[in-house]
């Protein structure tokens, strides 16, 4: 099977700090692939390199054979990558529905003149976009909250709205940055099931950063572990759980020798 995303020897430095170092990574289509690692391991920086927020100093990143390294974030989104953020970044003063409509932006065509003259084409497109936005709202379970301002939504709802907004661009690859951060066990379980649905029902490939080991081990088909910007392990959850280097990275050397398995 061909990988949907390929990263080869990606390096990203911030001044003297090497946040991502010579990273090789392949993500197979329709996989749920987790990237884990201690704080500061370079997970989010790698996400930012993939989505165009940061330009890597070296290496190449390909989506289905298209180079992404020099592209701006909007071009990369148009090629089929969407993401959510570690600290939720919704358009706070727009309604939930408008957030999703903005998400559809690259798929819509109508421009300035179409908008001013409200041409039949624009009307059709807007009606379709609105219907699609309502459908996504229902898909993430926010029906009835579409007219609320995003900032007034409950925390869990904001997380799901952010995913709905990402889905609106019809991505092939969805990047989730700590989707269960700050959730209680029940919400976490619901989110886990929801991520499974995204893959199974929409056929998405999902790459996620997650700290919650229960979620990571339960959900992932493949896991990549980063530490100090380098890949220290990769494999199925069972392999990762018993990998001594991973245990060491998470717990430190002495504790790793004492403890058997990570939580």
């Amino acid at each position: 099977m061909a990988p949907i995303l390929t990263a080869r020897q990606v390096t990203k430095r911030f001044g003297g700090l090497t946040a991502v170092n010579n990273l090789d990574l392949e993500i197979q289509e329709r996989f749920i692939h987790s990237v884990i690692g201690p704080n500061g391991a370079g997970k989010t920086t790698f996400f930012n390199c993939v989505t165009g927020f940061n330009q890597p100093e070296a290496g190449e990143i390909l989506l289905n054979g298209h180079h992404l390294e020099r592209l701006s974030p909007d071009r990369i989104t148009q090629l089929g990558i969407a993401r959510t953020y570690q600290n939720i970044r919704l358009f706070a003063n727009l309604t939930a529905l408008e957030n999703i409509l903005v998400g559809q932006h690259p798929r819509l065509k109508s421009g300035m003149l179409g908008a001013i003259f409200n041409t039949p084409g624009t009307q059709r497109e807007e009606a379709k976009a609105l219907a699609e936005a309502r459908r996504l709202l229902a898909f993430v379970g926010l029906t009835g909250k579409g007219d609320h301002l995003a900032r007034n939504l409950a925390y869990g709802d904001q997380r799901r709205l952010e995913i709905a907004r990402a889905l609106a661009s019809k991505p092939k690859l969805l990047l989730l940055d700590e989707p269960t951060a700050g959730m209680n066990p029940r919400e976490t379980e619901a989110m886990t099931a929801f991520i499974h649905r995204l893959r199974d029902e929409l056929g998405l490939t999902i790459m996620l950063i997650e700290h919650h080991m229960g979620v990571v081990m339960g959900i992932s088909e493949r896991i990549t572990v980063l530490d100090y910007g380098e890949k220290i392990a990769e494999g199925a959850p069972v392999e990762i759980q018993t990998n001594p280097r991973v245990i060491e990275a998470y717990l430190g050397r002495e504790e790793a020798e004492a403890a058997g398995e990570p939580a």
Partner: protein
């Protein structure tokens, strides 16, 4: 404040001091004396006194609001004490002005001010006694307003506001409405020689307070009943109100007369600019402080293309194709758009305060270029361009305030229409997303370069249109007409009206451009009032007078949301 039943005299004292400082300030900058030439209620209270009384009333109101314990018990004495302190500070002023010969330092500390503060009494002692008594009473009244039930309180405050406003505008209203003899009798009953008459003031107070109170208690029922009407009735009502609005807009200049039409035109030009800057700042979140540049460019293009003063003499320019107004207008708008985009390119990467500073520079560059000797042969330098062309449709020449009015209203309506359409469209959503979070907007697939330039270009188009009409309206253009103050005015009116809100632009322009034009006494204190208004707005109502409403679209059909046009524009 602490929750006990003790009389909180310390707080009342503090509020009184704050009120006193405010009263002292407005007295010593000369506002009280200047405004005393205008009566709010004829022979009873002048506008200068009103200003002082508002300070005292507010001191009493807030002192009562902070008074601990059961409401009512301490509110009146708290208010009275605060008012007394405020009045006391003024009394001290009255005493020390002659003693210390304050007038040598503060030119406004004049005998006239003393007379006003002591209610024109011969004896200073009696006058001060009056002043303190009035202070205590008004302070207590402020306290009383505070403890009224919320509904009644709102009605009373609103009624006081309207009495003040109508009293303030009486001269205008009378001049305006003399064309209509039917209302003449009512007017002469309502208004005295200067300001409202006593029965007129009472009538206004009762009508506004009663109306507001009734609406607050019964308004929901009325709205429900209207909502319960069948859709056909709704449509008829909507069309009816549109027709009425159109009729009012068309008929207005006849009622207003030349002077008021001219004021309306100034407001209209600012509305036009405000709608443009609202797209740049309110929708797209790009803080542009050099917005006057596009106004200037529109005006100069109109001037150069239509001026008939061609030649080598002073006040003439060497090149001028002498186009007609209508030929020049689209060119002026087009050139403004072009400059909007050209000036937008270098600032694409800038945000927030950096963007503000650079655009501020652009605005000044354009003004200084207009003044420069380098361009003098082409745009006249400091001597400007004269004999700018006038628009004409059939027999109507747009050269009087009452005809220009229609031109400006048409411009405003066009800008309003475009703004409305863009607001709810794909480009509008991209602007708002960019305003909220530029990085995320880009990650959503929005092309920031195109989106920003579209905002700059559209904003510049409205401003250029406004400038072109302005040039034709004034008939001559000088660089000093395009000062930084215009940019600040436009930005202020957007902030006061409500960022990103279209009705807010109209409200802001009326308050910040219309009122100072109408009340000439204000003009000297214009910037002081601007500053005070902006501070008060930021503290109490940062979303503006008429904030942008969120659009309910989840359960509406897409087509239905586009039907209702805005009614009652430029009034």
């Amino acid at each position: 404040m602490t929750k006990n039943t003790h009389f909180n005299w310390l707080n009342a004292l503090r509020m009184g001091l704050i009120g006193g400082v405010v009263a002292l300030l407005i007295s010593l900058v000369g506002m009280v004396e200047e405004f005393s030439q205008r009566d709010i209620i004829a022979g009873v209270i002048t506008m200068g006194q009103t200003l002082l009384f508002i300070a005292i009333l507010m001191a009493g109101y807030f002192a009562a609001g902070r008074a601990a314990g059961q409401p009512g018990l301490n509110s009146l004495p708290s208010g009275a004490l605060a008012g007394l302190v405020t009045a006391g500070i003024l009394a001290v002023l009255v005493v020390i002005i002659p003693l210390l010969n304050l007038r040598a330092i503060l030119p406004n500390a004049s005998p006239a001010l003393i007379r006003i503060l002591t209610f024109l009494q011969e004896s200073l002692v009696v006058g001060i006694f009056y002043l303190l008594g009035a202070g205590a009473m008004i302070g207590a009244a402020g306290g009383l307003i505070n403890i009224l039930p919320a509904g009644i309180r709102r009605a009373v405050i609103l009624a006081l506001f309207w009495v003040g406003l109508l009293g303030l505008l009486q001269e205008l209203l009378r001049v305006t409405l003399t064309n209509m003899p039917q209302v003449g009798a009512v007017l002469s009953w309502m208004f005295g020689s200067r300001g409202l008459s006593v029965p007129g003031a009472i009538a206004v107070f009762v009508a506004v307070a009663g109306g507001n109170y009734l609406w607050a208690s019964q308004g929901d029922k009325v709205q429900d009943r209207i909502r319960a009407q069948p859709p056909a009735t709704h449509r008829a009502m909507r069309w009816g109100s549109i027709v009425v609005a159109i009729a009012v807009v068309l008929y207005l200049p006849r009622v207003l007369g030349p002077y008021l039409s001219d004021v309306t035109n100034s407001v209209g030009l600012f509305i036009l600019m405000g709608l443009g800057l609202n797209i740049v700042v309110g929708f797209a979140g790009l803080l542009d402080l050099g917005y006057v540049a596009f106004f200037a460019i529109g005006a100069y293009v109109m001037g150069v293309l239509t001026s008939s003063a061609i030649g080598q003499n002073a006040g003439q320019i060497v090149f001028g194709p002498q186009l007609s107004f209508w030929q020049a207008l689209p060119i002026a708008v087009g050139v403004s758009v072009l400059f909007g985009i050209i000036l937008g390119i270098p600032v694409l990467k800038m945000r927030g305060d950096y963007l503000a500073i650079v655009t501020l520079g652009f605005g000044e560059i354009i003004r200084i270029l207009a003044l420069s000797d380098f361009l003098k042969p082409y745009i006249g330098g400091s001597q400007g361009i004269v004999e700018v062309g006038e628009g004409q449709i059939g027999p109507v020449i747009f050269n009087t305030p009452q005809t220009l009015y229609y031109l400006i209203v048409a411009g405003c309506l066009l800008a309003l229409f475009i703004s409305r359409r863009l607001r709810d469209s794909r480009p509008g959503r991209a602007w708002k997303a960019m305003r909220e979070d530029e990085d995320v907007a880009q990650a959503m697939g929005i092309n920031l370069v195109a989106t920003k330039l579209l905002a700059f270009g559209t904003g510049a188009a409205f401003s250029g249109l406004s400038g072109a009409i302005f040039a034709s309206k004034i008939g001559s253009i000088y660089p000093h007409s395009f000062s930084l103050l215009i940019s600040i005015n436009v930005l202020s009116l957007i902030i006061v009206g409500g960022m990103g809100s279209l009705p807010g632009v109209f409200v802001g322009a009326l308050v910040l451009v219309g009122l100072p034009e109408l009340l000439r006494e204000f003009s000297e204190y214009r910037l002081l009032m601007y500053g005070a208004l902006l501070i008060v707005m930021m503290l109490t109502r940062p979303e503006g007078f008429w904030p942008e409403a969120t659009h309910k679209r989840e359960f509406h059909e897409a087509a239905a949301s586009e039907v209702a046009p805005e009614s009652a524009p430029a009034s």
